[in-house]
């Protein structure tokens, strides 16, 4: 059995943690962003931890479940980790929808935080 490269271990661990928090208590997501973080949510930009968490908390559904189908992780030249996720999500009683999300992770003071986050539903490919 081949050991996973370190960036894959860190990336997978982050992804698991992120969606666990998202699906259980979005107000906890502040711990993974910093003041310099940037979120693009369905094309809208949110700058900084406060604005990002504000957006995520204000999403108008009480219940969401994410299911990850595939995830890819790469190291970047600046020692960050790029993660791309493809999956499905189910909001309340709505039908299941596909989504795509990409993260850039940075190690700051021995913790991996998310500096860049881009999310889109899988409805944009046939515009």
């Amino acid at each position: 059995m081949v050991d996973q490269p370190l960036w894959e271990q860190i990336g997978s661990s982050f992804v698991q943690h992120y969606y666990q928090l998202f699906d259980s208590d979005r107000s906890q997501l502040g711990t993974i962003y910093i003041d310099e973080s940037c979120l693009t949510w369905e094309g809208q930009q949110f700058q900084g931890k406060k604005a990002i968490v504000g957006k995520l908390i204000s999403l108008p559904f009480p219940k969401i479940v994410h299911s990850i189908t595939v995830q890819d992780h790469q190291p970047t030249p600046d020692c960050n980790i790029l993660s791309m996720v493809v999956g499905q999500l189910k909001v309340d009683d709505d039908p299941v929808m596909g989504f795509h999300q990409s993260f850039l992770l940075k190690n700051i003071n021995d913790a991996w935080v998310c500096t860049n986050d881009m999310f889109r539903l899988a409805i944009h490919n046939f515009g």
């Binding site: 310099e36 940037c38 693009t40 094309g43 930009q45 189908t69 595939v70 890819d72 790469q74 190291p75 970047t76 030249p77 600046d78 960050n80 790029l82 791309m84 493809v86 999956g87 499905q88 929808m97 596909g98 989504f99 795509h100 990409s102 850039l104 940075k106 500096t115 860049n116 881009m118 889109r120 899988a122 409805i123 944009h124 490919n125 046939f126 515009g127």
Partner: protein
């Protein structure tokens, strides 16, 4: 209302346009020039490390013709002054039906140009066709 585009958006759009133009309208043998020497490509889950491996993979893709249509693209600057890009669209290979795709790029400044250091491509397996 027209808004002034941020510089990273302009650079990103320019790269994306050049990338898919070369991809669709050439034999893809010069696509490698858009990447840094140590760039990394993950193509449908397979990893290709380095410009040469990437070039080899892209030039060897087994279709006669391909056309990409970009429907959405998102750009962000990073703390390390790179540009993070996410592209959505559809592609049509030969006579096959169109398929959704999703691609992420990381660009780094290498004056006088910007090169791609990271590239992740996936077909849109959950995507809803119109």
């Amino acid at each position: 209302m027209a808004c002034e585009k941020e510089i990273w958006q302009k650079i990103g759009e320019s790269f994306v346009q050049e990338y898919y133009n070369q991809f669709d309208n050439t034999n893809r043998t010069t696509l490698g020039n858009l990447y840094s020497a140590d760039a990394c490509l993950t193509w449908e889950g397979s990893v290709f490390p380095g410009k040469e491996a990437i070039s080899g993979k892209l030039a060897s893709l087994p279709f006669k013709s391909i056309k990409h249509i970009i429907t959405e693209q998102d750009f962000q600057p990073t703390i390390d002054s790179s540009i993070f890009i996410m592209v959505f669209g559809q592609l049509k290979v030969d006579d096959d039906p169109p398929m959704a795709f999703h691609q992420v790029f990381m660009l780094k400044s290498m004056p006088p140009t910007w090169v791609c250091t990271n590239d992740v491509f996936r077909l849109g397996i959950h995507n809803i066709p119109s």
